[in-house]
């Protein structure tokens, strides 16, 4: 489940409340069918968490950090389980290195590895790939997806990277100002945007193109040779017909279907 929304929408606050770090101003939280406040330890034992903005103790070695959290979550046979996890996350050769000796990518792996230490039923990940280069972010995503398939756990995932949300999440909740604005699959949400983008490289002068697009009141941007026209995807055929009638020749055409990012931008701006 992806948790989306602009900055200040309440994504991190929601996660903090689910972890018991912040008390809700009203209402109650029930998880695994249990009220959170009176079953806190029992519920948290079945969950785990990782975020880009938290660390693990710098002065502890990789293995010491993982042992500490395995003990905190009362994992049985934790040494054996931590060894297996380190193998899976390719951390075995780094086990005696202190956290402050690791690269950003290695640290990200350690943080994610820590969040799997108790084999949680529910994993909360708050922008786990923020600040990572695309290569490391891709490795982290693959590790997460592999573990999800293997263990059938649920994940609540926040990110500002829309392709990442589309790749990882089956469903998305869109939050704004602490309220749920939309909830659906990433594809369905994207399809709520009726507009697509038609990008064309014209052989004729921009002025002629501009005149035609203005006459028909199209929304467009001309950037050097490339013209991008935003329109309802049902009207693409009509646009191409008009261009043909006006003898405006083009060498390249690309039609971008609406994405989750388009939905995000539209909803975030509407609700501001």
């Amino acid at each position: 489940m992806g948790l989306l929304g602009p900055n200040g929408a309440g994504k991190t606050t929601t996660i903090d409340m689910l972890l018991g770090l912040t008390t809700p101003t009203s209402g109650n939280i029930n998880m695994f069918g249990l009220p959170f406040e009176i079953n806190r330890a029992n519920i948290l034992k079945r969950m785990n968490f990782s975020a880009a903005y938290i660390n693990l103790p710098w002065s502890l070695k990789v293995i010491e950090n993982l042992y500490t959290f395995a003990r905190l979550y009362e994992v049985d046979d934790y040494k054996e389980k931590v060894d297996k996890l380190m193998d899976e996350f390719q951390l075995t050769n780094l086990k005696d290195k202190r956290a402050d000796e690791l690269s950003s990518g290695q640290l990200a792996k350690l943080y994610i590895c820590k969040s799997f230490v108790n084999n949680p039923k529910l994993l909360l990940l708050d922008e786990p790939t923020a600040f990572l280069d695309p290569d490391v972010a891709d490795i982290i995503r693959k590790i997460i997806l592999k573990r999800v398939k293997k263990t059938n756990m649920s994940i609540l995932f926040t990110s500002h990277n829309m392709p990442e949300i589309t790749e990882i999440c089956d469903r998305v909740i869109f939050l704004n100002h602490g309220k749920i604005i939309a909830e659906d699959t990433p594809d369905e949400l994207a399809q709520k945007i009726k507009f697509c983008k038609v990008r064309l490289l014209f052989l004729v002068e921009n002025n002629k193109v501009k005149t035609l697009l203005d006459n028909y009141k199209y929304e467009y941007i001309i950037d050097n040779k490339e013209t991008t026209i935003s329109l309802d995807e049902r009207n693409v055929g009509q646009l191409l017909g008009r261009l043909s009638l006006a003898k405006l020749k083009y060498t390249q055409i690309t039609i971008d279907k609406p994405t989750l990012e388009d939905f995000f931008i539209k909803v975030a701006r509407e609700k501001l």
Partner: protein, 263 residues
């Protein structure tokens, strides 16, 4: 309450202790340095002043006991601050660890560390100045140490609670508070020499009764058991209040989102 989670927190900090110079200095270095400085100073006084037969013993005993109290309190606060500095507070409190388990883990950890501090002070005191802590205090020693630990824990929990309420800007309190309480604890002089306003404050501190009787023990004067009972009773009251205060401030921090911001 889970002993495994308590153990997890204790071991997590014991991993760091032997390999971190700051922590080792806190447990051994600074206490040994202070006892050395005071020992030298007092040896000088003994050679140069008359009627000061027991002054070295009394001062050394006071320095050792004060170090135990100060280190206990500081260590308690620093265990909490360490999690804040490491941005690990969210990890700790989003785990099943409860507030009570967290406090018990700090107490266990502190007791382990302070035993090593006491041993190092005993060894240095004995070999440098022929001061034998065990024979000097006799059967009173465990009671005195227990009371020092109880007071250190109360002050430590109070400091953590204040940090939870006011954030980073008051973290200096972890080091400063024992310097503030020292004059009123009457570590090196009797309560009677204090001005009356200061005496009223001193009488509210369990440490002032303890140090008063500690001097009586070292000087082989009659011991007022009432003072020891008052000290113990005050400690129990303050410890209960500090735990309540910690718990209340923790919940307030959760309500206002300060626990997360502290990270």
């Amino acid at each position: 309450m889970s002993y495994r989670r308590i153990l997890a927190m204790v071991i997590r900090h014991l991993y760091v202790w032997p390999r971190n110079l700051d922590r080792l200095m806190g447990s051994f270095g600074w206490p040994i340095l202070e006892i050395t400085i005071w020992g030298i100073t007092m040896s000088y006084f003994q050679k140069n002043l008359s009627n000061s037969l027991s002054i070295v013993t009394v001062i050394l005993g006071s320095v050792i006991m004060w170090q135990i109290l100060a280190r206990t309190q500081t260590e308690i606060s620093i265990v909490f601050l360490d999690e804040v500095w490491n941005k690990n507070l969210i990890n700790i409190f989003s785990s099943p660890l409860t507030k009570a388990e967290f406090l018990v883990s700090i107490i266990v950890l502190n007791t382990i560390k302070i035993i090593f501090t006491i041993l190092s002070l005993m060894i240095v005191g004995f070999f440098y100045y022929k001061f034998d802590l065990i024979s000097s205090f006799g059967l009173y020693l465990p009671f005195l140490l227990l009371n020092l630990l109880l007071m250190g824990w109360s002050v430590g929990f109070f400091v953590i609670a204040v940090i939870l309420r006011f954030g980073y800007r008051v973290q200096e309190l972890a080091w400063a508070i024992f310097l503030v309480t020292q004059p009123f604890s009457c570590v090196f002089y009797p309560i009677s020499v204090l001005p009356s306003w200061a005496k009223s404050i001193a009488l509210l501190l369990p440490s002032s009764y303890l140090f008063e009787e500690m001097r009586n023990i070292l000087s082989k004067n009659p011991i007022n058991m009432n003072n020891l009972y008052i000290s113990f009773s005050l400690n129990m009251i303050y410890l209960s209040l500090s735990i309540w205060f910690f718990s209340a401030m923790f919940e307030k921090a959760r309500e206002h989102g300060r626990l997360v911001k502290l990270n």
